[in-house]
């Protein structure tokens, strides 16, 4: 059954059948072999998979991000980061990472983070004489912090499909996200020394205060989102809708940069992006139902038990390798949806915390966003910088290495993930 499932699913996917449809076909194949073919049940499970209030946070967070980009909020975050770090040698690199981390606190998607920060900062870096490939490699890698630092769309998906607290996952992502940011800054420091970038301008407290004041409403948003979720005042979905309304009002009435005529287009593109994610979500959940009834996690668990014995560290080693390989060819969302429900029961069998496992899995698959040949963020980076995939893939290697080191760190020091969630529990 396990072989059949994997062969069918990956066979369809390899043949270039979109993943949502591959899952539907796989579900039917599984039904056929278990002797109970019911397309009606399948459709019912797809719809049930989508019919989830927490999932509504996905379009809301996406929409909030789009409004922030066209309403001048993202630009003010960048200006603030520039006032703080812009004067150091290679300063714009640190600005990119810091601004990406700040933006990650309001957006839940790597694509939103990368395209916002890349399109704002890359042209400046280029005109100031920074190496093009290294600059693009930096903003692309920094963009993957988007779904690690809360809010996070992948964490919402994992929380829903694996029935794990989304709030706890959010909290677990904070330290790993900051670690990746620091790691990338260290990598940039080494590069800046080697490339001999010069320091420009001088630090001015006046500028920090001025830009901080201008960015005040933008910087307040992460606090509103996270503060409200952590204190339990509202759910992630409610926080997301508050973010939409807040971003709308700030960019319309305070910054006065939002063009109302653009709103319908923003709504439609957000709805389209959402439906792509949700269709895979629904199809994966209907397949997940069959996966569980066919006892596939049990079968995989037995196979892994043979490999890893009873050792959870060894298990995580194998799972991390598997996910890194899958991440090279598959996008974060489908990988998470297909492998999440299969691997989590195994991890729980080995006595691992679901929150820890979810965060490690998401950080791992975020690395997959920038690994060739298939990496969503790699493509976004190429789109913004007009470099080829080959050029960017080469320049981004050190950043991949930095992220893998961070991954090893959070895998083997679970306290890094669990410290904040345990504080709030």
């Amino acid at each position: 059954m396990l072989t059949l499932f994997l062969a069918a699913l990956f066979g369809f996917i390899l043949l270039n059948v979109p993943i949502a449809f591959s899952l539907v076909l796989t579900a039917i194949v599984l039904m056929f072999f278990s002797g109970n073919v019911s397309p009606a049940l399948l459709v019912q499970n797809v719809v049930r998979g989508i019919d989830n209030f927490p999932l509504m946070a996905i379009p809301f967070f996406l929409l909030a991000g789009e409004i922030m980009n066209s309403g001048g909020i993202s630009r003010r975050i960048v200006q603030f980061a520039r006032a703080i770090l812009g004067h150091i040698r290679g300063g714009l690199g640190y600005v990119t990472v810091l601004a990406s981390m700040l933006f990650a606190g309001v957006s839940g998607s790597a694509v939103a983070d990368t395209s916002a920060m890349g399109s704002l900062l890359y042209p400046v870096m280029k005109s100031e004489g920074y190496k093009e490939d290294k600059s693009a490699a930096l903003f692309s890698a920094a963009g993957t912090i988007g779904p690690v630092i809360p809010p996070s769309i992948p964490m919402i998906i994992f929380g829903v499909i694996a029935n794990v607290s989304i709030v706890q996952l959010f909290l677990g992502g904070i330290i790993p996200g900051v670690l990746i940011g620091f790691g990338l800054m260290i990598g940039w420091y080494i590069h800046s020394r080697k490339a001999g970038y010069k320091a420009e301008g001088r630090f001015s407290l006046k500028k920090v205060i001025k830009s901080g004041f201008e960015a005040f409403w933008a910087l307040l948003l992460p606090l509103i989102i996270l503060g409200g979720i952590i204190s339990g005042i509202y759910t992630p979905t409610e926080a997301a809708v508050i973010a939409v309304v807040y971003a709308f009002f700030v960019s319309l009435f305070i910054y006065r940069e939002l063009d109302l005529k653009k709103i319908p287009a923003l709504l439609v593109s957000t709805a389209r992006m959402t439906s792509v994610v949700l269709l895979v979500c629904g199809a994966a959940m209907s397949a997940a139902y069959l996966i569980t009834t066919a006892q596939i996690p049990q079968l995989m668990s037995d196979a892994l038990l043979g490999l890893a014995g009873q050792n959870p560290y060894l298990l995580m080693f194998f799972i991390n390798i598997l996910l890194l390989l899958v991440g090279c060819v598959m996008d974060l969302t489908p990988a998470l949806l297909i492998l999440g429900p299969m691997l989590l029961p195994i991890a729980v069998n080995f006595g691992l915390d679901p929150v820890y496992f979810g965060v490690v899995m998401i950080v791992n698959l975020c690395i997959g966003l920038i690994t060739p040949p298939v990496g969503n963020i790699l493509y976004v980076g190429c789109g913004i910088s007009h470099l080829t995939v080959a050029q960017l893939s080469k320049a981004i290697l050190p950043n991949i290495l930095i992220m893998i080191i961070t991954l090893i760190l959070i895998t083997y020091v679970p306290g890094l993930v669990m410290f904040i969630p345990n504080l709030v529990k």
Binding site: N16, P18, V43, V276
Partner: protein, 173 residues
């Protein structure tokens, strides 16, 4: 040539449907924002949650998901893996594309059939939602409707794929 006119007609219908669906999903998403936000306000400032608001916005999410899938399919935006296509020589990759297209049609037919039976089943059983008493058939109805639209689009793509495949195969020989 009558063939040329036919192609244009299909494109016109396609463009028309895309416009209508875009309007509907944009409108539904805006409505969802308003509904969920009003619910937050109602709960924290007026101390009374609106149960119907969550229910109807969830149903809207289902509609947005399926309607948006049609648009995403027209624009080839669905998540997939094209690694085999890029590695294979042009002739075989064209054959694979047609094969994938046929498999997509199979998946859509399953959704269409399943969607149709669950819709008629829930309509007949008179099963309604708890807060607003909306018949579940209305909610499920979106599946067969969108599957039908997807199917039409899949056949348009199939025709293109087959004609390109034939051209490529003939061109190589």
């Amino acid at each position: 040539m009558p063939g040329v006119e036919k192609v244009d007609l299909i494109k016109i219908i396609e463009g028309f449907l895309v416009r209508i669906i875009s309007w509907i999903i944009g409108f539904l998403l805006a409505l969802m924002v308003i509904l969920v936000f009003s619910n937050v306000i109602a709960r924290y400032f007026l101390n009374s949650a609106l149960a119907w608001s969550e229910e109807i916005s969830r149903f809207m999410l289902i509609w947005v998901a399926f309607l948006g899938s049609v648009l995403a399919y027209v624009r080839n935006e669905h998540l997939g893996l094209d690694i085999l296509i890029t590695v294979l020589p042009p002739r075989s990759s064209r054959v694979v594309l047609v094969l994938a297209n046929l498999l997509v049609i199979a998946a859509i037919v399953i959704l269409l059939y399943g969607g149709w039976s669950i819709t008629s089943h829930t309509f007949n059983s008179g099963w309604t939602s708890p807060a607003l008493s909306i018949p579940y058939g209305v909610v499920y109805m979106i599946v067969p409707v969108c599957s039908l639209l997807l199917l039409l689009q899949a056949f348009v793509k199939l025709r293109e794929n087959i004609s390109v495949m034939i051209k490529v195969i003939k061109g190589v020989e």
